[in-house]
């Protein structure tokens, strides 16, 4: 279990969520599914809004944190990124990197 997964597990427990026994963290699965209305089903977009599926974790986490900090320009995501904790951003980074 890597550090990010542990973090997300701790996060889930803190929020009263239950990680399933079959290895899928359902809290993170839901958070990733939430993105689909803009970024496409499973994070796959073929138009202007970027795809997230298969994005390298370093890029996902780096971009989200930079947009959250206001150091990377964006039209929409600097606002949405500000609503997520760093632990949630790490967990989603793992999710999209592992779901190509």
């Amino acid at each position: 279990m890597n550090k990010a997964f542990l973090l997300c597990g701790l996060l889930a427990v803190a929020q009263g969520a239950i990680a399933s026994t079959d290895g899928v963290d359902k809290t993170v699965r839901f958070m990733a599914a939430n993105c689909a209305y803009c970024h496409g089903p499973d994070g796959r977009s073929t138009s202007a809004i970027p795809s997230l599926a298969g994005m390298h974790k370093t890029r996902f986490v780096g971009s989200m944190k930079a947009m959250k900090a206001g150091t990377q320009a964006s039209l929409v995501m600097y606002q949405i990124a500000a609503g997520y904790s760093d632990a949630e951003i790490d967990a989603m980074g793992d999710w999209f990197a592992n779901n190509k």
Partner: protein, 436 residues
Amino acid sequence: MTLNRRDFLKFSAGAASAVGLSTLAACAGTGPAVGGARPKVVVVGAGFGGATCAKYLKLWDPNIEVTLIEANEKFVSCPLSNLVIGGARNIEDLTFSYDGLKKLVDNFVHDTVVGIDATARTLRTASGRNFSYDRLVLSGGIELQYDKIEGYDAEARKTVMHGWKAGPQTVALRRQLEAMPDGGVFVLATPPTPYRCPPGPYERACLVADYFKQHKPRSKVIVLDANADIVSKKGLFMAAWKKHYGFGTPDSLIDYRPSSKALKVNAATKTISLEFDDIKGDVINVIPPMRAAKLTELVGARPAEGKQAWCPVDFRSYESKTVPNVHILGDSAESNMPKAGAVANNTGKMCAAALVELLNGRPLVIAPVITNTCFSATSGTTAMHVAMVFRADQDFKMVSQPLPDKGISKVESEAEMKFMDSWGKNIWADTLNLKI
């Protein structure tokens, strides 16, 4: 015979159900199917809420038997439909088959639900078919309350459009605008809050003004707002009206009138009566007050007339607070989240996530955070957005988080129109299981 984990869950489901339901204090819910039967969910309404819920139920637990009942043959998107009214898109661009969902769910039924027995957990349809369920999901959108506006009767509704459910109404309104001579007046009467799509009326004013600017420059849009002020993205709409349509000058294409609630409609003379004034137009567009869909009344989940217009739900599962085993999604639910397509889509996923656990006798997985992003066109080529992030509080209500720049665009742009277009493609694909 050896039991795999799923079988074990099915056999143990009856006993395990108490664990899951103990987390739903407000609901005397019924547990999962027992005796090895597949749990049955019936979803009524294949709009953004219901279709998404049905799809994610099958993705997250294929063992659940999902029946999706929808009255319409095709899906027509309300988001982006003001662009059809303004002439920048065709209705075909927003119209999709249900084939993607038909492949995924166990039963896709074109029919109208006419009766629900919440005790027996059965429902019947207009064609006389009966369905039973373990859990029922109602995602019927809105009911328009024509009776709140005098004269808005069946006869008047033949010529006075609302255009607030996309489809034939959208096309008819577009045709009326095309037939209107230059120099004509388009009068748009908005509904009182809370209503479906808060920025929608102001976006419509933009897009009709955009059409007039290009093709009928002596014409005018009058907005009769039932509310005391612009209820959504006010600064951005005012800026767009000034920039594109001369708002604030004598030549303005848009005449905005707050606190101007439509009380009466005369379809023959195309006149809308306010408390102290009568406004005559060449095309009148009256959006009446609205409340939770009729479906929710069929099951007894809609509050009585005169009380709240929407159905109280438990935000962990979207289960009705008054009728057990019935979940209410999208615009019909009482919520502090806006009545928007993206919210319906995401609450469809919240409900699906909850049902998967409940029907397998497991405790609920609580969604800690959900988002809503909603684009509005300000002309045929420019748009802006509002973004929201909601977090569950200790009472499991979804609370809007403070975001930079209040979650709205700093300025409208052509880049955001490209995002709006992309948003449409992606939410339709996500909701309807379309190939992308």
